[in-house]
Symmetry: C2
Subunit: 332 residues, 2 copies
Amino acid sequence: MPTSPFKTEAILERPLTLAAAQLGPIARDATRAAVVARLVALLEQAAARGCRLVVFPEMALTTFFPRWHIDDEDEVTAFFETDMPNAAVAPLFDSAARLGIGFYLGYCEQVGSGEGRRRYNTAILVDAAGNIAGKYRKVHVPGNPVYDPALKLQHLEPWYFADGDLGFPVFDCLGARIGLLICNDRRWPEPWRVLALQGAELVLLGYNSPAQLPDNPRQNALRTEHHQLPMRAAAYQNGLWVVATAKAGHEEGCDMMGGSCVIAPSGEVVAISSTLGDELLVYTADLALTVEYKKFFDFAQYRRPVAYRLISERQGVGEPLDRAAWQKSLET
Amino acid sequence: MPTSPFKTEAILERPLTLAAAQLGPIARDATRAAVVARLVALLEQAAARGCRLVVFPEMALTTFFPRWHIDDEDEVTAFFETDMPNAAVAPLFDSAARLGIGFYLGYCEQVGSGEGRRRYNTAILVDAAGNIAGKYRKVHVPGNPVYDPALKLQHLEPWYFADGDLGFPVFDCLGARIGLLICNDRRWPEPWRVLALQGAELVLLGYNSPAQLPDNPRQNALRTEHHQLPMRAAAYQNGLWVVATAKAGHEEGCDMMGGSCVIAPSGEVVAISSTLGDELLVYTADLALTVEYKKFFDFAQYRRPVAYRLISERQGVGEPLDRAAWQKSLET
């Protein structure tokens, strides 16, 4: 593994060599076996390059089907996993355990059946022994619950997925305290803060994001900036590392963003992918760098939660609090 | 007022021509009269350039004295205003009313006397008729409450100032819903969100920030980035305009950052100061641009406050919530 003389593991205090395992497009009719073979190939490459942790994208086993309103229930069901692990992903789990590599995997999860059936946009964290160490279900499900003919780009995640119901948990794994987020979660400051208030040092995130927004064309030139900006701010404000991994490229007629990246607790993008295909982006993160920023912001000394109550008391925009209302809110 | 043919007020939907009125250094022994004369000169320039709102820095009437531990109580008291307006600032209020310009002014506020005396780092919003439309007292007071000989740079704000006790209010003024923040507040995501949950379209902020951090030298190269990053993310995530104004330059042996700026709801820095002295940075903001981003994030549809409770329940980092604790938290 070639490293700069200034960045060898030997001089890092708490090094963790990790990778964003970016995927190029997955066809609508791709088999699980074909996709899993691509994931295993990236894992093998990660092992050869000294990685201990690999981050696959959101919905890494299938095409991003919420771009369609699919009426064929059999086709929809086929995009979901009812067990994890299962026979189709066994080669991935087996390879990871054999290679001693942990991984983040995004997939579509189906729980129960009939009236009790629930579907989630899910990510799991698997430890270096091949055991599931943690699970997260996407809380910020973007888009519309129904097909809207007025929109040029459909994004029907709420039609397919229920809101995540596991909160924002953290997991101690691979020597780090790790949080999991998925795609759109990255644009909201709250999940990052909730993870940091539980001590998160490293947040893993997979995404499927259109490269252009034909319904908001003024934002097109800013897509990469709007992808990085909230994650960079969150890394800095919470003193944590971020690994964000894309499903990229031209998938079923839709151009998906690349730009898989590693972000340091300084808020700097320290590594970024250079293709729109299957690509392993390797970086050795020093977890000790979180300390400087966590100390700089010293939540216990400087946060003022009593003044933040509207964040958890309100969902949408409401009336301004007048002076009396603020006084009451701050005193009780 | 020269404007680009692509950015005349005529084609903006809700134009507001505003200015960051950056100040160069203020000496420890500067008189109020001398400082106020500088503010008035910037106001006159703002009027000539068509501004309706001017944003002065934090502590715009005095030097940034928290860099010293001052034992002479008379000298300390002289840095504070016990009334606002008062005779010393009357020329500023009179000029603004005469010119029909509103302004943000940061100053040191003393309330009461004896045991009941309180001192705050305060900002006011004055409307175009010269009336005080709103007041904010800084909530995130950075630095240390006591002199620490181990530090190369002292920052003793908590020794001088109590925490702000007015919450994060918004004010309807000059046709906009306006929030006020001060300096270090900009680095925390919570105040921005609390303002946005009350409909803020424009946030005004003054600051005094050292250009270098000799006690955190790795951050020195990132000072400007760390100044802009959280404000840019906040502008984007909350769909609002930001005007941030520096006290800049070499003040009493300390180099202060410049970089006064205007930030659009896109998160872009659309105007930035070019000196470290008294400088008027003028920009015509279209308040209507807030709509696109507020709609994109649609808090009422997409925020999930029940999952954000730790933000207002915890001050510092605490134990992770396990699955049962998350379930309980989300259900009650």
